[in-house]
Amino acid sequence: MTDQYDIVIIGCGVIGSSIAYHLSEYKQKRILVIDKGFPLSGTSGSTQAWVWVHNKVPSWYGELSMYSAELYPFLERKIGDVEYKRTGGIAPFFAQTDWDKALRLAEEQAEVGIKVEVLTRDQVLEKEPALSPKIAGATYSDMDGNVNPFRLVELYIKAAKRNEVEFSFYNPVTEMVMEKDHYKIYTKNKKDAITTERVILAGGPWSKEIGELLGLDIPVKQVRGQVIITEPLAPFLKHTIGGMRQAENGEVLIGFSKEEVGYDRRTTMDVIQETAQMAINYIPSLAKANIVRSFSGVRVIPEDGFPILGKIPDKKNAYIAAMHSGVTLSPLVGTLMAELVMVGETSICLKRYSLKRFMNYA
């Protein structure tokens, strides 16, 4: 580790490591990625890792997810097998009154080219026979799928390392000083400052704390999600279901909870029990499945729900990428942020996602 870089990325989750890899493809810059922990010890390692498109609304946000999902097969050819599977996604509903909502969703998503079908009970059960006959119907899209987040982040890092990106783990950033044309970054494990021309904040749920080092107010919330995991079962779920999926090794991951409890990552009995109940409501035969463990993760959600992407206003050469659904958006965000830093403009307009939108009424 030298002391001078062109670009320093703070955060090595699925977003930070993707940006690092995509930047490294240009093979022009000296890049360092710093993380306070070890890869996958935070949000990116505690997710069901759906690559989920079909009910991301409004449609302009869905569109972003769609482009990202489309990049996955291409990404896999470049960095290796990340176990991406485009399974198709089913979001079941139980009430007849949800039909209207489902039809409106299909209509809205059609505007940007996301094909969402509204299926009757019989049509759903034909696709996924394990689902409960009590469901009323479901929305379905063949764009949806899932990925192995552990493989994804590991392969981003390995590919970036091949392109000479450096990484520093277990090394929290303690101070950042903006000087005339560069940043000085102080970390826990290094006495001297690291100097860099550009800095990219990719701290996920910890964006707030990192932003404060630059005197910024990054408007994000922390949201806890709890997930339970069965022992490996014979393959029986073909699709990614809104709420659960079956991994390649047969385990079923179940969970769809949201709690605002800060950085508390404990699992709690009440949510685990509700999650178990949801699993049985969706798939009655799961009652007999054995649960091996549970885990929870702290996810980040920007105050208005949409990604914060792009240059940081009023700060020279500083960028931010903070969003929910990082796994879905990772290949696209990596590509766009690399374009922004290297070329100065992006192939998809990011104006809507600027941090500026929060500053106008601050």
Binding site: S41, T267, A276
Partner: protein, 110 residues
């Protein structure tokens, strides 16, 4: 132990894979777990816990007492999903009356 010795029986992870993760910078059991799946299987690291801690200690040249154990996850012991949901009575909960009837030769389950 040679390189191909299995450390984690549930996920069939060998010494070489553990050391590969350590070379990547992993320094705790949980780091290794996320990279290799070691300890994620049905036994939930009951078998591999100390073997892995020993490997970390040896490879990094530190005392095993400095390597924390993996994070334990609810429900600690394999449990039916239906029981977690509260629909089925748990076979693990035994009252003294059940104990008595067991002694009398009755079967507790089924």
């Amino acid at each position: 132990m040679d390189k191909s010795t299995i450390v984690c029986r549930c996920e069939e992870i060998n010494v070489d894979e553990i050391e590969g993760a350590i070379r990547l910078g992993a320094s705790t059991f949980d780091d290794i777990k996320r990279l290799t799946r070691c300890g994620m299987g049905p036994c939930q690291s009951k078998i591999c816990m100390n073997l892995v801690r020993e490997l970390i200690a040896t490879n990094l040249g530190v005392s095993i007492s400095e390597i924390p154990p993996p994070r334990m996850r609810m429900p600690l012991k394999i449990t039916r999903l239906g029981i977690l949901a509260g629909k089925t009575s748990s076979s693990n909960v035994v009252s003294v009356f059940d104990e008595a009837s067991l002694e009398a030769g009755e079967r507790q389950n089924d």
